[in-house]
């Protein structure tokens, strides 16, 4: 992992704390229940031990004593404690998980928005990378952080109940139990920090490395096949997998050591009781022995938390790494004029600009920098008289409705995809946009119409249909500039003519300006200005020249 992103981690932690506060009532209820469970468990076993021993002594003392022996109160107490323990455990799990689930439900959209509003390069390199799947897993890991919040309360209540019971036997016995239990927790914490935490981190790191290397090999699959080096690649990945498995095994083994410290603490507690309780009556010694065992046991949830610590910490760090303070540019809006600094070109709607030039020369780069979909280069262009690099992404993007060469579609319905551009649009507006993109007939023919699901990134559409859906989506956004990147590529001449005719009518109706990237003559003919992009300068700025057309 790269160097820690302290500000992002701090931001994530404050988001998590905010959720902890919001779920305060539930978390409190979970903690109270956890305390109830531990106390009931300790009392239950202690009282049971006392009861059975006292019963035996009463039985030995003869029928008279046996008949006068009060078994009603202790046995009622035992039943009550058993029910309290079961009910409390149920309550703890329900409220604790409820709090965790609600907190996570609130965190997920916040994280998404945090990533989306972060610096554009970071946000877009996430798309499709393994970081996005990491995001899902790591958020799940954080769930543990909420669920385990009640664990210390359970351990503390068990300790208090155990000491309280043992005080009946003697204060030295109580002290012995407390010491053994505390030693157990301390030892488990040390084992957790020394073994489980590094192993937990190693698991997360190894799984990330496996995914990264997998992605690298997957991108080169044909090369692996052509040179017969697939077995070698499989070997490499299997070795990465083996590292992951080793880490998982170390984590499991660390969990085992933590449990062993618990067994040892129990043994120590029994020895402590035997050493200190000599003077007490047999029933009270039996009570102390059983109380000792359950007191140590009630720290179990806390010990599990020690085991998960590493994974939770790693998850928080990695998620924090994705969050960055958003770039602080002035938020106020700008006028929809575009000035390209290296030419004397100054445009405002309803002007129409054609951008041409050979493939790969930087046409898309130029327009996407205007929209802050790529980091803008200072001095290249200005919007409303302000350098693009100094305009906030929100203000810049508000000026444009963009249909890229390859429309990125949501895995939803046609309606959802269109409404991305205009959430308030009614069906008439959607159909009108589809009509103008020459896609309405195709959608009408589908049985589900606007509700037809598209599959991942529009898998059920052909390339041309995807492009036209992207076009319809851009039409729905009432921004001052319509930006179309190769809108008619791959269309036959008749369809192209129809699309362009409707585009012209639409522009006249809306008064929008047009920026059109194409190398085809028909769309270029719509424009009154023409810009030729010639390449990227060493500084990274796009080089261009203006050509006036009729």
């Amino acid at each position: 992992m790269s160097a820690l992103n302290a500000s992002g981690v701090a931001r994530l932690k404050s988001l998590i704390r905010a959720q902890e506060r919001r779920q305060g009532a539930r978390l409190l209820a979970a903690s109270v229940c956890a305390a109830l469970v531990s106390a009931a468990a300790v009392l239950l076993l202690g009282v049971s031990g006392w009861f059975i021993t006292a019963s035996a002594l009463a039985g030995l003392a003869g029928p008279l004593v046996a008949h006068s022996f009060n078994f009603m109160v202790p046995s009622a107490l035992i039943r009550f404690l058993a029910i309290a323990r079961t009910g409390g455990r149920y309550g703890e799990r329900i409220t604790g998980h409820d709090a965790a689930l609600k907190a996570l439900a609130a965190l997920r959209p916040q994280l998404f928005e945090g990533v989306a509003r972060g610096p554009v390069t970071r946000a877009l390199t996430l798309a499709g990378g393994e970081a996005s799947s990491r995001m899902v897993q790591d958020v799940d890991a954080i769930q543990n952080r909420f669920v385990r919040l009640s664990a210390p309360w359970g351990a503390a209540a068990g300790m208090v109940a155990g000491i309280g019971l043992a005080l009946l036997t003697g204060w030295t016995t109580a002290l012995a139990i407390a010491a053994a239990s505390a030693l157990g927790v301390l030892a488990a914490a040390l084992v957790g920090r020394g073994l489980a935490e590094p192993a937990g981190r190693a698991v997360q790191a190894a799984s990330g490395e496996l995914k990264t290397e997998f992605a690298a090999f997957a991108a080169a699959a044909p090369e692996l096949q052509a040179y017969g080096i697939k077995p070698w690649a499989v070997e490499q990945l299997a070795e990465r997998g083996a590292a992951l498995e080793r880490a998982t095994q170390s984590l499991a083994s660390a969990g085992g050591w933590i449990l062993l410290t618990q067994s040892a603490a129990m043994a120590l507690a029994i020895v402590g009781v035997m050493a200190t309780a000599g003077a007490a009556s047999p029933p009270l010694i039996a009570l102390a022995i059983l109380a000792a065992v359950t007191t140590v046991e009630s720290a179990g949830a806390l010990l599990t938390a020690f085991r998960h610590n590493g994974a939770v910490k790693a998850a928080v760090e990695r998620l924090g790494d994705l969050l960055e303070a958003p770039t602080s540019a002035p938020r106020h809006s700008v006028a929809p004029t575009i000035d390209l600094s290296s030419t004397d070109l100054s445009l405002s709607p309803p002007q129409r600009l054609a951008v041409s030039g050979p493939s790969g020369v930087g046409k898309t780069t130029l327009i996407e920098r205007l929209m802050h979909l790529r980091p803008p280069v200072p001095g290249e262009a200005s919007l409303g008289g302000v350098d693009v690099a100094a305009v906030s992404p929100d203000a810049a993007r508000a000026l444009f409705a963009y249909a890229p060469q390859q429309a990125v579609l949501l895995a939803g319905t046609i309606r959802e995809n269109l409404k991305l551009a205009l959430p308030t649009a009614d069906d008439d507006a959607l159909w009108a946009a589809l009509e103008d993109a020459d896609l309405a007939d195709r959608v009408r023919a589908a049985p589900a119409g606007l509700n037809a699901p598209l599959g991942e990134n529009g898998a059920r559409l052909s390339g041309g249909e995807r492009r036209r859906l992207g076009l319809a989506r851009a039409y729905l956004r009432a921004a001052p500039w319509l930006v179309l990147d190769e809108p008619t590529e791959g269309l036959d001449a008749a369809t192209e003519a129809r699309v362009l005719e409707r585009l012209t009518a639409r522009l006249e109706r809306t008064g929008q300006g047009l920026i059109l990237v194409s190398h085809r003559p028909a769309p270029l003919a719509l424009c009154d200005r023409r810009l030729t992009v010639t390449g990227l300068a060493p500084s990274g700025a796009v080089q261009m020249a203006v050509r006036e057309t009729a």
Partner: protein, 538 residues
């Protein structure tokens, strides 16, 4: 525990069984260690009972019993640790086996890379709990209670009878609650997958979401789905927790039954003639043992979701393992550049519209063809046909005297260079020689020179390609193509993402590489297309 319908679960369950078979011994050892815990469990109960039973004679008499209890406790801890380690070792072995199988099936074009990656990492990882926890717990749940009841029978056959009698409703209760929890948690698993899918999709679609300033809108969509999942999961967990509470209650009830018997037996107040006369030691032993009888079954029900996770992952793992088993003929490599003919070719992946239909093209021996078109127009899929990485869904491709519909293995015929050549940690020379492991040093040197590499071939390159510029990385791919004497050269976007100067510098190298071979180049670049004898726009 047979808590689910056989028909739905049969196939993944069978595959799982077969996948685990080679590691049966290690898994048996892990289960054995878990079951062996019954011995110190009896020892602990006996030790406590002996200690408490001896208390009336003075605490000194209780020491041997206490020592037995302490020793048993430590033995339980050590045994548990051994069981954990062996279980984890078994899980590690199984995961290693399955991952290797899955990887062999990966990169075959059958599943998307994302799906394969999920199967390789999360899917394989899902087997962990199944092997290390569920399977030992299942065996222990069948054996341990009977062992402990047998131990109880030695002391008091009547109590053993009570335990045996309560076992039956307990098992039925567990099966019922397990079934309810199983069905619900499968649904929850699906809901979780849906949310994950939504999340991944919206991250992927970020370019569009940013361009349309729909961040808040989509965050709300994710928020709603997330809220929905929380409610659903809450319901599911309620059932799971309720069923575990019921099991706990059942177990407490059974223990109470034993306690009532023991207590009244000790007080000699039983309303019926006592079947056996218990001492304090015996009664304490039975009471300490009783909860242990139910513990293995409660552990099994807690581990049940491990099994479900494994079975949910099994179908995609099984699919990839099948994909590995493809054998095909290797036709002899022609001595000169072959002719290639595409006739009415259709390429359609399993899900979605065909990426290419009705494609016709005749390529003369030794000609260079550029395939030009936007991404997604099927250029790369056409090249992948030759390597069996994309499906020939219709039509025919003839290469020399071989038909691609027969699925021949043409690996030896083909040299390939793409936009992201594989880089391995090692020297530049070693990296080039990936194309031909046994290549003599002078051939590697010659290939490097022809690809335009200057300077030291022994310089070290790290796995992230450190030490190579973007242009040099492409040269590495081309150097491999020079090194491999194959009659067909396939170039996939050889200059994508390069600046104009670097692209111009690479063009003569591409021209030289294409010499004497039948060459197909998929590209966006007009400059690269200018090298070709024939340009096809897709």
């Amino acid at each position: 525990m047979t808590a689910q319908p056989i028909d739905a679960a049969a196939a993944p369950a069978q595959w799982l069984k077969a996948a685990l078979a080679p590691r049966r011994r290690l898994m048996a050892l892990a289960s054995g260690l878990v079951i062996a815990d019954a011995i110190p469990a009896v020892g602990f109960a006996a030790g406590l009972a002996l200690a408490v039973g001896a208390l009336p004679q003075g605490i000194g008499h209780a020491v041997p019993g206490a020592l037995l209890a302490v020793g048993s406790l430590l033995a339980r801890g050590v045994l548990a640790q051994c069981a954990t380690v062996v279980g984890a070792r078994a899980a590690r072995a199984v995961k290693g086996d399955v991952r290797r199988q899955v990887l062999n099936g990966a990169f075959s074009g059958r599943l998307s890379d994302a799906e394969t990656m999920t199967a390789t990492v999360e899917g394989v990882e899902a087997l962990d709990g199944h092997v290390s926890r569920f399977l030992p717990a299942r065996l222990a749940a069948g054996v341990t209670p009977l062992l402990l009841i047998a131990a109880a029978a030695v002391v008091s056959p009547f109590t053993a009878g009570i335990l045996m009698f309560t076992l039956l409703p307990f098992v039925i209760g567990m099966a019922l609650t397990g079934m309810a929890a199983g069905a619900e948690s499968r649904r929850q698993f699906q809901a979780l997958e849906r949310l994950s899918g939504l999340f991944l999709d919206r991250i992927r679609a970020l370019p569009a979401i940013l361009a349309f300033q729909a961040e808040a809108q989509q965050a709300a969509v994710i928020g709603r789905a997330s809220e929905n999942l929380a409610q659903r999961t809450g319901k599911v967990l309620k059932i799971a927790f309720l069923s575990s509470a019921i099991l706990e209650f059942f177990s407490a009830l059974a223990v109470a039954l034993v306690a009532v018997y023991c207590g009244f037996n000790l007080l000699k107040l039983l309303p019926f003639p006592a079947p056996d006369q218990l001492s304090l030691t015996q009664a304490f032993f039975l009471l300490a043992l009783a909860p242990e009888v139910y513990a293995p079954m409660r552990r099994l029900s807690a581990a049940y979701h491990d099994r479900q996770a494994a079975e949910a992952a099994a179908p995609s793992l099984a699919g990839l393992s099948d994909a590995a088993e493809v054998a095909s003929v290797r036709p002899p490599v022609p001595t000169s550049a072959p002719a290639i003919a595409f006739r009415d070719v259709t390429i359609a992946y399993e899900a979605g519209a065909p990426v290419l239909t009705g494609f016709d093209l005749e390529i003369a021996p030794g000609a260079t063809v550029a395939l030009l078109g936007a991404s997604g127009s099927g250029k790369s899929s056409l090249l992948h046909l030759f390597l069996g990485l994309s499906p020939l869904s219709g039509g025919q491709v003839e290469v020399h005297d071989v038909r691609l519909s027969d699925h021949p293995d043409l690996t030896a015929w083909i040299a390939w260079a793409g936009q992201a050549p594989v880089v391995v940690p090692g020297t530049l020379a070693e990296n080039i020689a990936l194309a031909w492991r046994a290549a003599p040093a002078n051939r590697v040197k010659e290939a490097a020179a022809r690809a335009g590499f200057k300077g030291d071939l022994n310089r070290v390159i790290d796995e992230r390609g450190g030490g190579l510029s973007g242009g040099e990385r492409r040269r590495l791919g081309l150097a491999r193509a020079f090194l491999k004497p194959a009659p067909i050269l396939l170039l996939d976007e050889p200059t994508a993402n390069l600046d104009a100067a670097s692209e111009a510098a690479l063009l003569p190298v591409i021209r030289a590489a294409a010499e004497g071979r039948t060459t197909l180049i998929a590209t966006h670049s007009e400059a690269v297309a200018d090298l070709a004898d024939v340009v096809v726009r897709l």
